[in-house]
Amino acid sequence: MDNKVTNVLIVGVGGQGVLLASEVLSETAIQAGLDVKKSEVHGMSQRGGVVTSHVKFGQKVYSPIIPYGQADVLISFEQAEALRAIDWVKKGGLIATSTTRLIPPIATSGKIKYPDDPISDLKKKFGDVIAIDADAIAIELGNPRLVNILLLGVISERLNLGTETWQKAIKMRVKAKFVDLNLKAFAKGRELAEESVGTPL
């Protein structure tokens, strides 16, 4: 039996909503009848550090950690953080990142400065990079906190989990009063992805 496991790595900076994104993705895979394992660093989420979450799903998933070079999809909420995570992504993998730049003081006063153009560095190594100004789009949609669901919308088409399954998971995992807005953000993400060139995974 073909047991294809899909590996999705979600990265960002504390406070950006990485953990909710990984919960919604995991719930979607569960609702699609798949086995899901996820592993994440919790303590950093409020403390301005790097937050990463590994989500793996398929007929049977044996381990919760994605090995280096094995992520099919990388979702990043910050452009330099996408670059930081490239050794996890497999050759030819999909990268969806926000063009958001969060520059901590240490990246201007320390030895190593914030990179000038992380997105073009990514594009040199990967052919399948979708970069959107997720912050601006989220604010346009009505709430800056929609960045996470917006980016899930962007990659959703490529994961073959079914639009209705995604919508069901969003309703289950997002606070009731924000569900409609998040569904709107998800739809917007799908719309933006149509303009990209890749094929389903």
């Binding site: 301005g48 550090g49 950690i65 090995p67 930081r84 003081p105 990246a107 807005l181």
Partner: protein, 313 residues
């Protein structure tokens, strides 16, 4: 991790090897496991990436936006004293940019360590122990008793945020609730310290930078051990505290970087530079809790309350 299976199997008289391929230290990542398996001849290739990791700037964790511990460590940094630390969120004060914690050994060791450092007399500016409320109740009480008994000239700051924050928000004997959430007898930290023989026990508002600084200065001058209790609650637990955020008036910001040095994750560097090519500050309105600490130390008074709170539809 110790070679538990290997030793047990060997003890049963069966020849086996394994631990020599794997480290005793750190987490066993798929990468490390594959290196061991390759060395042992089980697989041909290490599971790795074709891409070299990028040499990027670090993004270390800091205290949360609005964390009440920040005001205390800002004051201690200003004073340049020796700080013995303990186990909790506040241990993050060891990292840059605050970098104002000198020791962290085990739960309760801040007070014992401070007693020792003060006895050695190597720190002219004095010694302060910083310990959280739950850590103090777990294993700081005996240390404080020792400080009284042995007449130590130390100041102990109990960072009372009314929760065991680092491990996820558990209750403890000074919260008034059991771990099951039932009401129970609540320890009064000030009375407890007095009962141990501490003559000076004072409260400080950690959101008042100058006030906290003055109280620490006064208590450090006092002979014998003294205790300062801060009483601002954790901003995350049990209830998320979010007040109106602050913002930076860009034209007034002179790029002095004072607010960068308090290590607040809500304060980022703008790509806009001053005439002297120094980056200006910006505040993320989604992260700022309105604690006011950065505004209190902003000399050009560029940090102000936002006029209109961000409207969430």
């Amino acid at each position: 991790m110790e070679p538990y299976y290997e030793e047990t199997i060997k003890a049963a008289g069966i020849s086996v090897e394994g631990k020599k391929y794997f480290s005793n230290l750190g987490e066993l990542s798929p990468y490390k496991v594959s290196i061991g398996l390759k060395e042992a001849g089980f697989i041909d290739k290490v599971i790795g990436s074709e891409f070299e990791p990028e040499d990027l700037f670090p993004r270390p964790p800091v205290l949360c936006p609005g964390c009440p511990h920040r005001g205390v460590f800002m004051a201690l940094k200003k004073l340049g004293v020796a700080v013995t630390g303990d186990i909790g969120c506040y241990t993050l004060a060891v990292l840059p940019p605050l970098s104002i914690m000198d020791t962290c050994i085990c739960m309760g060791a801040s007070i014992g360590g401070a007693i020792g450092l003060e006895k050695v007399g190597s720190h002219e500016k004095g010694v302060v122990a910083a310990i959280g409320d739950s850590t103090f109740l777990h294993s700081g009480i005996t240390g404080l008793l020792d400080a009284v008994y042995n007449k130590s000239n130390i100041t102990v700051i109990i960072l009372d945020n009314r929760v065991t924050a680092m491990t996820g928000g558990q209750n403890h004997p000074a919260t008034g609730y059991t771990l099951m959430g039932e009401e129970t007898k609540q320890v009064d930290l000030a009375e407890l310290c007095k009962a141990l023989g501490v003559e000076s026990v004072r409260k400080a508002d950690a959101y008042d930078y100058k006030g906290t600084l003055e109280i620490i200065k006064e208590e450090m001058k006092r002979p014998g051990p003294s205790v300062i209790l801060t009483d601002r609650p954790c901003v995350l637990m049990p209830k998320r505290i979010m007040d109106r955020p602050y913002t930076v008036i860009s034209d007034l910001c002179n790029g002095c970087s004072a607010c960068f040095r308090i290590g607040c994750p809500a304060i980022m560097t703008s790509e806009e530079l001053t005439k002297r090519k120094r980056p200006k500050a910006i505040i993320d309105p989604l992260l700022c809790t309105g604690c006011t600490l950065c505004a209190q130390i902003c000399k050009p008074e560029a940090i102000v309350l936002v006029e209109e709170p961000v409207k969430v539809k």
